[in-house]
């Protein structure tokens, strides 16, 4: 057992995107205090200043090779907002198809490549399921192979609509550069149906619709089919449902907006006084503040539309490159589970009522995979090859824009100011910036820092950290 009062640094973390360290203080074999350290800084917000506004469409996707469509969509929205441009309905559909595929693929890449291999670790060797889990979910094992194959196939959607992935160029402020023709539409529908079959057969072991229709955490535990069933048995045995609770405040910018509105609602939901998730509250982005008091940054707390990024490795009391975003002064958790809670899915609300654990985050992703797959098929059928896919308009000489989307890992915002035809200011708050934020000026820890408190030493720390599906390259950018 770790000695009381001792400090341990866990890192480098593998199977996360980018570099991460976690500093843990133990007492009685459990974490009593955690500091999350983002160790990678590149300075995109500095680089964008002075560039032509549209260059953000090429530069910002390169913040991240995993969520590059999300970055691209957020940049296009921010620029569109500044220019008063909105994509036509069919352009929105095309964007949501590629964005939806990216999010869905990210969720399953997390499940098969990043999260499940932890259960093959020697720490779990004494468990009855360890042998079977190792055979199925080990690195290079049958589950990974099957997913990588299915993944390469569904990525044809990116080829058809976006030319290339990662780092597509097709998404513009007014829509998409490529209008799919009738043949493309057929191919899209076929690929998405094929993926849905794979989900039914391999991931869920039964119809994804049946999984999406689950209403309570106890109904969920009865699911014993497919890779999901294998995971649920492990989660039950290890008690993943009672560890890793975040701040109890969930945030979503509203995901996958088409002409009919967002597929998953925008807003905020928090645990009320009785520990139950409360009503859906509206989101006002004016309540967002980025607080650099524990970041290697010389700035002061500011709204991202007026904020700045001033790297300062000597800042007193700082321990991360990440600034601390706060919503009306409070840390907020974001991601697939947050989206499902905000959207009011009964199973997600049930899991939120149990505290919102490691398990809840995994189930949030699985729910979203099931619901997104259905929407993707609907959207691709609704494509009209003869319609308009883009509106034209010039970038303004002066202007401001806000671009909000939901990346796989949660709420992503871009804020741009344009002056004399150039970018004057560009600020980005990524999902993991919220989830892995350091402390703020009043010393309140970020969501992961809270989730780790009470965690026993050993593999469980890894499960808690990975349950957020961190993307460290987005976090600081």
């Amino acid at each position: 057992m770790r000695e009381d009062g001792t400090r341990h640094i866990v890192g480098p973390f593998n199977r996360v995107e980018g570099d991460l360290e976690v500093v843990l203080d133990f007492e009685g074999g459990r974490v009593v205090r955690a500091e999350v350290v983002s160790t990678l800084f590149r300075g995109f917000e500095r680089i964008l200043v002075g560039k032509a506004p549209l260059d953000a469409l090429t530069i910002t996707p390169r913040i991240c090779g995993i969520c590059s469509i999300s970055q691209s969509a957020a940049a296009a929205r921010a620029l569109g907002d500044a220019a008063g441009l909105r994509p036509p309905p069919q352009g929105m559909l095309a964007i949501q198809i590629i964005h939806g595929v990216e999010n869905l693929v990210d969720h399953l890449t997390h499940f098969y490549l990043f999260f499940m291999p932890d259960f093959t670790r020697p720490d779990h060797a004494a468990r009855s399921w360890h042998g079977a889990a190792t055979a199925r979910f080990g690195v290079g094992g049958p589950a990974q192979r099957s997913w990588l194959e299915a993944r390469a196939r569904i990525m044809h959607v990116m080829g058809i609509l976006a030319g290339k992935w990662p780092h597509t160029l097709a998404i513009q402020p007014g829509g998409v550069t490529r209008a799919p023709d009738a043949r493309d539409r057929l191919k899209l529908v076929a690929q998405i149906r094929r993926l849905r079959r794979w989900l039914d057969e391999t991931l869920f072991g039964d119809g994804a619709e049946a999984f999406a229709a689950l209403g309570t955490p106890s109904d969920l535990l009865a699911w014993r089919k497919g890779d999901v069933g294998r995971y649920l048995a492990i989660a039950d045995d290890l008690g993943l449902g009672s560890i890793g609770s975040g701040p109890g405040l969930w945030l979503s910018f509203g995901a996958h907006e088409t002409a009919e509105g967002p597929l998953f609602a925008r807003g905020v939901r928090r645990l009320d006084g009785t520990g139950r998730p409360g009503v859906l509250e509206p989101l006002d982005t004016a309540d967002i503040l980025e607080d650099p008091s524990h970041a290697w940054d010389a700035g002061r707390p500011a709204h991202p539309s007026v904020g700045d990024t001033l790297p300062d490795p000597d800042r007193e009391g700082a321990y991360s490159w990440c600034k601390a975003p706060r919503l009306a002064g409070r840390p907020a958790e974001t991601g697939a589970f947050a989206r499902q809670v905000v959207d009011g899915h009964p199973l997600a609300l049930g899991l939120a009522g149990e505290g919102g654990s490691v398990h809840a985050r995994i189930v949030g992703r699985l729910l979203e995979v099931a619901r997104l797959a259905e929407a993707l098929e609907r959207w691709s059928i609704a494509l009209e090859p003869d319609a308009r896919f883009i509106e034209h308009g010039a970038m303004p000489q002066e202007g401001r824009g806000e671009g909000l989307v939901e990346a796989a890992r949660g709420a992503l915002g871009h804020w741009v100011s344009i002056g004399e035809g150039r970018i004057l200011r560009y600020q980005i708050i990524a999902p993991t910036t919220w989830n892995f934020s350091p402390r703020d000026a009043s010393g309140v820890p970020g969501p992961l820092e809270q989730a780790l408190v009470g965690c026993p030493e050993g593999a469980m720390v890894q499960h808690v950290v990975r349950s957020f599906d961190p993307c460290m390259v987005c976090t600081v950018h």
Binding site: R42, G163, Q462
Partner: protein
């Protein structure tokens, strides 16, 4: 010491003999080598000791790894993953924390002078490397440590090769390409943001199979994938020659598939295999999605003015000064027609280069 071959590793990972032979023919095809090379590749993989790979990540966005694991043929990808999964990769490996650091050191110690170092991303040099810390130390230290005993280095993508967007003005972290930090090792650059999956697997398979670098151009890029311009193999080229251009996104001309030069396409000055191999299993590439090429495999593409500025330094309407530079060497290599004899002479040249350094290692292909 017991010698483990690639074939041993593959068999252990459950890959059948039949699949192995299929992999060898795929590899030969991907590298533009004729059927006569299939038994040579098979022989090499069954007799040569496995070459370990250490894969490290600096300032980057992981897009190279993303591209790599999406490589077209599932079998090729399986095999390549099985080749490298035993060693060190901080994105995909199973170990974590101190265990991971130990695996890193073990691999270096065990295979001193014998492993290939694959670098994704680059080291930032400002503030003593503080902008990228791995295992409590600046990434540049990890890079130097791994490079010291590597026999060759692969610089994956625009970051490692040239710097990429994080090196854009004012380059806040002083992100620096690998070859400016490591100057005493053979380095192969595989630029692109990211590189095409099949180019990545092709390069690494070639190196693992033949135990040497492929033939490189003056910039250090493998000729087999980077010796032709996007423009020369672009399916929209006839429209350029005919003076038919897209004037705005998705206009009438765009739907007819006219040339994107006026929309800022950098195809005429970019050397890569996008217009032949294409992306996402050969489905498409940026120009096919209606957007111009941004030249992401060229040095400095991030700082050449707006990505939508029209190129002004190319000859118009098909009169190309540098046709000689372009042609020959590998025109057929990535395309359908296989230029066996060109490839063979490329191999011979590469052999000569290697012979001086390691005369024992090349007898199989002679």
């Amino acid at each position: 010491m017991q010698t483990e071959t690639f074939y041993d590793v593959m068999r252990r990972q459950g890959i059948t003999r039949r699949s192995f032979m299929k992999f060898c023919s795929l590899t030969a095809a991907a590298l533009g080598l004729g059927p006569a090379f299939v038994p040579k590749i098979a022989h090499a993989m069954q007799t040569k000791p496995r070459t370990p790979v250490i894969w490290v990540h600096g300032l980057e966005c992981t897009c190279c790894s993303e591209s790599f694991i999406r490589s077209a043929h599932p079998l090729a990808k399986d095999v390549v993953l099985s080749m490298i999964s035993l060693d060190y990769d901080d994105t995909l490996m199973a170990a974590a924390g101190h265990q991971a650091e130990a695996a890193f050191e073990d691999t270096i110690e065990k295979y001193k002078g014998n492993y290939i170092l694959a670098v994704e991303g680059n080291p930032p040099l400002n503030e003593d490397g503080m902008f990228c810390i791995v295992g409590g130390k600046p990434f540049v230290d990890q890079l130097r440590r791994a490079a010291e005993h590597a026999k060759a280095i692969i610089s994956w993508g625009a970051c490692a090769s040239y710097g990429c967007v994080q090196a854009a003005k004012p380059n806040p972290t002083r992100a620096t390409p690998v070859h400016k930090v490591i100057t005493d090792k053979p380095i192969i650059k595989v630029p692109g943001c990211p590189p095409i999956a099949e180019v990545m697997t092709g390069v690494i398979t070639y190196m693992l199979t033949f135990d040497r670098l492929p033939d490189l151009d003056r910039q250090g890029r493998p000729k087999m994938f980077y010796s032709q311009r996007i423009h020369d193999k672009c399916y929209r080229r006839p429209h350029f020659d005919a003076g038919q251009f897209v004037e705005s996104w998705d206009d009438e001309n765009a739907r007819k598939g006219y040339c994107l030069y006026k929309m800022g396409c950098k195809g005429p000055t970019t050397y890569n295999a996008c217009s032949t191999i294409r992306w996402n299993d050969g489905v498409s590439f940026p120009i096919q999605s209606g957007h111009g090429c941004i030249g992401c495999s060229e040095d400095g593409f991030w700082d050449n003015g707006s990505f939508y500025d029209r190129l002004t330094n190319i000859k118009q309407f098909g009169i190309e000064a540098n046709a000689d530079e372009v042609g020959m060497a590998a025109a057929g290599v990535v395309g359908a027609g296989v230029a066996v004899h060109a490839a063979v002479s490329a191999l011979k040249r590469a052999q000569m280069k290697r012979q001086a350094a390691a005369p024992e290692k090349i007898s199989e292909e002679a």
